[in-house]
């Protein structure tokens, strides 16, 4: 419903002129807006990485990633092996550092016998 206000003609003409205005964004404005977008995007936490940042992933990160962990695993296996069947060089080193008696005191003769390890140092 329109009122017959004598000023409506002027107003309708003004509205029409406003609608006709050809407004195009300048390159400078585009650049300002894209710079804002970059800033906001740069400050965001990327969502895709959330799935991999669980406890295990954090432990991995703390240890230095997969290469470090594989090296650690190899060292652990080697350590167990050395503990079970120490090469003579390790035995000699241990003996020179802490003395011959220690290796005998640490293992019961039964256990040493079962594993076939000679403890007579």
């Amino acid at each position: 419903m329109t009122m017959t206000n004598p000023n409506d003609d002027m107003l309708d003409d003004l509205f029409a002129q406003a609608r006709e205005a050809d407004v195009k964004p300048s390159d400078a404005l585009m650049a300002r807006i894209l710079s804002d977008a970059d800033d906001v995007q740069g400050a965001m936490q990327p969502e895709q990485t959330v799935a991999t940042s669980g406890l295990w992933a954090r432990i991995l990160d703390a240890l230095g990633g997969w290469p470090a962990v594989s090296g650690l695993a190899a060292a652990t296996v080697a350590g167990v092996w050395i503990g079970v069947a120490p090469p003579s060089s390790v035995q000699d080193l241990t003996a020179s550092l802490v003395g011959d008696e220690v290796s005998v005191d640490l293992f019961s003769t039964g256990l040493a016998f079962d594993t076939g390890v000679s403890v007579d140092g």
Binding site: N7, M10, F15, M30, Q41, Q48
Partner: protein
């Protein structure tokens, strides 16, 4: 700026916004190319001058980037949301303009040719319309501008303003009447007084 082939052709605005939030390096550029012309046009019609309109448009787009990570899919269309944000930003600025209206905004033209005079008059009219919008209650100003400057339907405006269609009708009717009264005193100044423009 050259816009290379659009990798998002056919995708809704919302998909680009989510791509932006997920770190896509191209989404912002294509989304801006899509949305900025309309945002800037809306701001220009409400503010009546290019500088303020550009500031509003930049501000509206900034709000879009910031909301991207929390965008709730299917709750609102990006275009509807932007109409609302732009209208709100404009009325915020128009409110500050009240009481300091049109003292020196229309300078005398240096070049007195008819085309320059016509341009100056159009600019003066658009500024006068914007100043009159500034005098209206904010909801009226928003409803009137969405209806008569953007040419949107009442149901669309109802969605943008989050009110009923009946409220839109009431706001636009009252707003337009108030606007006509405000503009009445400036008829001569704006070249509407008689057949011969000033």
């Amino acid at each position: 700026m050259t816009v290379s082939q659009d990798p998002f052709a056919g995708a809704p605005d919302e998909a680009l916004l989510i791509a932006f939030a997920n770190g896509d390096g191209q989404a912002a550029r294509f989304l801006t190319a899509r949305l900025l012309p309309r945002v800037l046009a809306q701001a220009t019609r409400m503010m009546g001058n290019a500088t303020e309109a550009e500031d509003v448009a930049q501000d509206a787009m900034m709000r879009l980037w910031k909301v991207a990570a929390d965008w709730r899919q299917n709750e609102a269309q990006v275009s509807t949301w932007l109409y609302r944000v732009t209208a709100n930003l404009c009325t915020d600025r128009l409110r500050k303009r009240r009481g300091a209206v049109s003292l020196d905004q229309v300078a005398e033209p240096l070049d007195d040719s008819p085309s320059v005079r016509a341009q100056m008059q159009t600019r003066a009219r658009m500024m006068a319309l914007s100043d009159a919008l500034a005098q209206l209650p904010e909801r009226q100003a928003q409803a009137v501008s969405l209806r008569h400057l953007e040419g949107l339907s009442n149901p669309d405006i109802a969605q943008i303003m989050d009110i009923s269609v009946r409220s839109v009708e009431s706001l636009t009717a009252r707003g337009k009447r108030a606007l006509a009264d405000l503009m009445a005193g400036r008829k001569a100044e704006l070249g509407y007084d008689d057949d011969q423009p000033e």
